[in-house]
Symmetry: C2
Subunit: 338 residues, 2 copies
């Protein structure tokens, strides 16, 4: 059996059992945005990693080395944000094709350094190695959180409201533009490409949500709204109902839809890499979350649906009809998606 | 300027300044076996990573997937050992060529799981991604240590004795055998190949040395004796004198030298990947270290020289003459070494 037959998720399922060994001090191993290890009585260590491979995760013609450096760090910071943690230090491994211009890697490092400064993240070291042909970047980030505040994927309960911090679909539109699948009005080009190439991890917002004690579960949208909400449902053993009208779509994406015939809702549901935070909040005076965001001068989060009994995700359309949705994520091993 | 012109160490020097930003809580950033972050008053977090790239660090015809899995974890455990720490959890990223047999990766994972169990290391998660052609494995390991016990590369002082935990050169001999550069007596073949493909990280010994308070500096031998002792000298702003006769060489390597004409001392000085620990001990009743090892039923360490004033490494030969040695490490970007 080839890897292309089984795919990433199939493979992970096939090894999860032998790797997820209960061990003292490990609060959460495989299966959330970060591993969670207890350190002291009231604090935990968060630990996450992401690998970016040339021609799989990025095409070097479609992103600057500077942006690539930022993004390699950003996707890890987003995982720390998704647990409500504070990032501490990063380890950076880079496999560099020997004929690469040193200046290009200096630009990559400048991007990494800038985003690390921005988020107060230390660079703890790493590994610089040669590569036969492709550029490969692996970043691992350690962070910390109060044990009582960490937000897992598994905490959602039927009745909880589902919130999203901001618009989704812009990154997927940016990717389509970069791949020349669509041509945007020139004035919007940079907006979408930035959304895809230089996403902003919502570390501060994640910490505020976690510290408030108002939320029950949280995840960052890396695979896409349906796929990541699907993770919350699966880990929480619950289902979800989405309200199509409430899913936040940027004015830019609406306009892009008008001018290119793209369906913004489709991109918003299935497009990945927006790095917004999706979180659930037990029923309570609804102003709790709104007030929290207002008190911190943050734009109000979007109430997009609620957690229900059972499993799977349903969506209520604007016309009142319902759709059963398949939580489709991107699988790099899947031939049909390559 | 191409990467092949500047090499790994040249590149690291060129970015070290901008990456090594003093930051609260970071006791040691770039430049030792692990990053060291303070967690509580008396404990620190150790944090290390290593990347293995197919056709650069390993040839899949020369190592089994099972051994490769063990080795990818082992090299990181050795870095934790070199600080005197206890490993806690690993994050594993694997970029897998899509046409790889799933069974091969299961073997890789079985190797990882077995060594993790052996060393009580939790697997905290990771990232499984596709690769266009080469297999790439990145492992990051978090560990912990008592703040007062951590052994840095920078702690050696003139007059300190230099110790080595066991024989060196076997791994380099194993590599030469795997590359068909030499043909060993058949009975020794497995011994050397195991030394290269399945090295044992000395985690327990590292912890014992650190906890004893007897040592002043420590490093694991990944690049080679001269190169790694060179790191100790550089970070400690000191020089070193090696006693050629005292450098431990296995009986097997001596025999291999006899039968193939290889110079065992040369392999012992410049060959990498033995993962023995090299540590320095301030002058004191010499039996301190010997007694420590004896009390723990460990083979006595080898007193191979001492730290001196100045810089650089000199070696006293058996005939009493001296040689100035160049701390040569392996640089994958260096054309002459490929």
């Amino acid at each position: 059996m080839k890897f292309s037959d089984i795919g990433e998720f199939g493979f992970i399922d096939s090894i999860k059992g032998q790797f997820d060994i209960p061990m003292e001090g490990v609060i959460k191993g495989i299966g959330d945005d970060c591993a969670v290890l207890s350190t002291t009585l009231d604090r935990v260590l968060l630990f996450t990693t992401d690998m970016l491979v040339q021609d799989i995760h990025f095409m070097i013609e479609r992103i600057s080395y500077y942006q690539l450096g930022r993004k390699a760090i950003a996707v890890n910071l987003s995982d720390i944000a998704a647990m409500g943690g504070r990032p501490l230090a990063a380890l950076i491994s880079i496999a560099i094709p020997v004929e690469t211009e040193v200046e290009a890697i200096h630009e990559l490092c400048r991007g990494m350094r800038d985003i690390c400064r921005q988020y107060n993240l230390a660079i703890g070291g790493g590994d610089t190695v040669a590569s036969p042909d492709k550029l490969v970047i692996n970043v691992a980030v350690a962070g910390e959180a109060k044990k009582s505040e960490v937000l897992y994927r598994s905490g959602a309960c039927p009745g909880d409201m589902i919130y999203l911090t901001g618009p989704v679909g812009d990154s997927a539109a940016g990717l389509k533009i970069l791949k020349n699948e669509i041509t945007p009005p020139e004035v919007m080009r940079d907006y979408f490409i930035k959304a895809h190439n230089d996403p902003a991890p919502l570390v501060e917002i994640g910490e505020i949500i976690a510290a408030s004690g108002l939320a029950s579960a949280m995840i960052d949208l890396s695979d896409g709204l349906l796929s990541d909400l699907g993770h919350i449902c699966e880990e929480s053993k619950a289902g979800a109902l989405l309200l199509a009208e409430k899913i936040p779509i940027s004015p830019e994406l609406t306009l892009l839809g008008d001018s290119t015939g793209l369906n913004p809702l489709e991109l918003a549901l299935s497009g990945g890499e927006d790095y917004q935070l999706l979180f659930t909040v037990p029923m309570e005076p609804e102003q709790g979350i709104d007030k929290l965001f207002k008190d911190h001068d943050l734009p109000a989060p979007h109430h997009i649906g609620e957690i229900g009994q059972g499993s799977g995700i349903r969506m209520k359309r604007a016309d009142g009809s319902f759709a059963e949705l398949q939580p489709m994520g991107f699988d790099h091993f899947n031939r049909s998606q390559r």
